[in-house]
Amino acid sequence: MATRKKSLLKVIILGDSSVGKTSLMNQYINKRFSNQYKATIGADFCTKEVIADDRVVTMQIWDTAGQERFQSLGVAFYRGADCCVLVYDVTSPNSFKNLDSWRDEFLIQASPRDPDHFPFVVLGNKVDMDNRQVSTRRAQQWCQSKNDMPYFETSAKDGTNVELAFQTIARNALAQEAEVELYNEFPDQIRLNTDRNNRNGNSDNCQC
């Protein structure tokens, strides 16, 4: 049996309700957009195989599943994130203002080992709309003030910058993974229902 263990990157998307988190995910994965607001039913996470820096990486993008709507995201959601995508709606100044608290919330809940260098990527979504309220300059300034987070202006509707943004997300998340991690001596964490864990000394399938 082949022991497959590709790098898996967990990316979580945060931001106020209806800034387009699920739509961005859908646009990136399925190249689709639906105008209907569905409060993210069925949206869980998406996986996509990407090649970054000569490596095949499975990127797992996690949606909030609507639990952010009444400030009820549990700490479990934040566990083990390799990258955090902060999304706001360029037509909603409030959603931009809240980025600060989303970022803080992430740092508290996920408590990454190196908070100063944790990879965040900021997306200003809905640039296809006419009634823009947050200027690019203002957004860029804020991103610079927070350890120079990469910033992209996207449209989940027409796909502007979506591909590029997620490429950056993958690359930054991967860069975080140091070589030390690859050779650690810790016993591996177990995911249920994956074959690779399930191969303890079966003497009948000898592979020597």
Binding site: Q67, S111, I190
Partner: protein, 566 residues
């Protein structure tokens, strides 16, 4: 905020503990509209995990309805003394010495521990999962397992002649243990193999011979030594002298069936603590449209006499629901005073006596804690009472490196958890024993549970309100799952309980032809490659001779087949 909420749901669930979350997820999964509320600002209720600071605060305020009789004690100084703090920074050889002696009580103070508060996940109701047990099966069959990660329990231990020894349960354990000689090893392996196959043949002589006898009597009949007998009784079958042969055998089989699946023992512990488990169920509920509101108080619940529909008053707003499922402690007083029939409701009484202990050193020998300390399980006995001790190291994501976390749980005998636990605590943290871990912090509390009464008054088939169960004294979640299923079956008689949730790739997006395959589902590079190269490849096809092409195809197809195995 509550104004955004719809005013009608199929089900309102109050409390986000394990059984409530189970029911909420199951209802949402079959398409019911669910509103899931918790008066607390955190998930899990009495099943939650806390960071050190919030845990101390919770005990400080004296607990809540479900957690009482709280007390806590710091065994270390408020802050590190300056001299000691500085000793770490002395350069050169002395520094190496300090590192070696790092696992020392003096290295920690209340302040330094609280600085790492977020590295702690202290469970109110810690559990250990059988790798093939009911919860693991449920997580796998429902596909909720994708939301959690686990750590294999490193060792199952038992006390033998005042020492804590490793119970050799896996083949490699038996091979490595120095506690058994080779004949004993063979006997133990043979006994375990026998138990594995036991019952396959219904006419098994033993089955007839030992019917009605105890498991202990059965063990005595087997040619095993005292040591093996103790290991089997205490740690494998986890039974006592009165346990029947059938039950002891069933438990041994449960243990053995869970072996060899993940780690070296049959047990798993959830990474970051058991508080994660209810949240996994809640996520599933949310993914299927369940709405989550933490930190909301329920003012009252009214039942419409003719329709039996419940009106839940949530911070002034009335929301209607077909059914309400609530954790026992969360039903509003106004409602309770009206004495309406609630399925499963009972007085809250002392149920579990709990102790949480922090130490800078692990319990037991170096062998039991190789590689920086293990996640170990130890069942303790004192007279006719028993307790479960779980040792957790930082590998479990529940405490910082250099600290060991111990959970001890026993059935409550009184409203004084410290007193209930004293006979067990003295076995492992005896201050006179220099090998025993020295405590940094200790806390005691009582988990309240429903009084076991035979029937709840005023309950009939039309009952709208259901009360869930509190944590049981059990290793795994078996009884809690059974009781959650029972409520679900009362709500939705013929519906399937948590059928497998599809993986994201399996879901058909609205308006999509389910058979269609867009280029988008191909990996990026393949897609680009395809687009880029299609033209040039077409040109080349013309150049190539047909024969060469045909010959290559089969091999290529085979290779692509492999490629497809991705």
């Amino acid at each position: 905020m509550s104004d955004d909420l719809p005013d009608k749901f199929d089900l309102i669930v109050i409390g986000t503990g394990f059984p409530e979350s189970c029911v909420a997820a199951a209802a949402s999964r079959i398409g019911k509209t669910v509103l899931h509320i918790d008066p607390n600002e955190y998930y899990g209720g009495v099943w939650a995990s806390f960071n050190l600071e919030s845990f101390c605060a919770l005990l400080e305020q004296g607990g809540n309805k479900e957690l009482r009789n709280a007390s806590q004690k710091w065994h270390v100084a408020e802050t590190l003394k300056v001299a000691e703090a500085e000793s770490d920074t002395v350069a050169g050889e002395t520094n190496i010495k300090t590192d070696a002696a790092k696992q020392n009580v003096l290295d920690w103070s209340r302040e330094t521990l609280l600085q790492q508060s977020r590295r702690f996940n202290l469970d109110l109701s810690p559990k250990i999962l059988y790798s093939a047990g009911r919860l693991v099966q449920l997580l796998v069959s429902s596909n909720i397992c994708r939301y959690a990660e686990f750590r294999a329990v490193d060792h199952v231990c038992t006390r033998f002649q005042n020492n804590i020894i490793n119970v050799p349960c896996s083949r490699s354990d038996v091979f490595n243990t120095k506690d058994l000689n080779i004949v004993e090893k063979r006997l133990l392996m043979k006994f375990l193999t026998l138990c594995m196959t036991y019952g396959e043949d219904k006419t098994d002589e033993d089955a007839l011979q030992f019917r009605g006898k105890t498991f202990r009597e059965y063990l005595q009949e087997q040619k095993v030594t005292e040591k093996i007998s103790i290991c089997v009784m205490q740690a494998i079958a986890m039974c006592n002298d009165d346990t029947s042969f059938e039950e002891g055998m069933a438990r041994t089989q449960q243990f053995l069936n869970s072996l060899g699946r993940y780690g070296n023992t049959p047990f798993l512990f959830p990474m970051y603590g058991c508080g994660e488990i209810p949240q996994c169920f809640c996520r599933l509920c949310a993914v299927f449209g369940g709405i989550y509101c933490l930190k909301r108080q329920i003012d009252d619940i009214n039942i419409e006499a003719d329709t039996n529909i419940a009106s839940v008053v949530l911070e002034g707003k009335t929301i209607k629901a077909q059914h309400v499922v609530s954790a026992p402690g969360h039903l509003p007083n106004a409602f309770l005073q009206r004495n309406v029939g609630v399925y499963g409701q009972a007085e809250l009484v002392n149920s579990l006596s709990r102790g949480i202990f922090l130490s800078a050193t692990p319990l037991g020998s170096e062998e039991l804690n190789s590689g920086g300390g293990g996640v170990n399980l130890l069942r303790l006995l004192a007279g006719t009472q028993e307790a479960i001790l779980i040792q957790l190291s930082h590998f479990s994501g529940t405490c910082p490196k250099g600290v060991f976390l111990f959970h001890i749980t026993t059935t409550a005998q009184s409203d004084q958890p410290a007193q209930d636990l004293a006979p067990f605590v003295s076995q492992v943290f005896n201050p006179d024993d220099e090998n025993a871990p020295k405590l940094l912090y200790s806390a005691y509390f009582t988990i309240m549970g429903r009084e076991r009464t035979s029937a709840t008054p005023n309950v009939d088939v039309s009952t709208t309100i259901f009360c869930t169960s509190t944590p049981y004294y059990e290793l795994d979640y078996d009884k809690s799952i059974i009781s959650a299923r029972e409520i679900f079956a009362k709500l939705y008689a013929d519906a399937e309980f948590l059928p497998r949730a599809p993986d994201p790739e399996e879901i058909v997006i609205e308006g999509e032809d389910p058979r269609a395959l867009s280029e988008n589902s191909l990996p990026d590079d393949l897609r680009e490659q395809l687009r880029e190269l299609e033209n040039s490849a077409e040109n080349m096809d013309i150049e190539d001779t047909d024969a060469a092409q045909a010959g290559e195809c089969t091999q290529e197809d085979a290779e692509t087949q492999n490629m497809d195995a991705d």
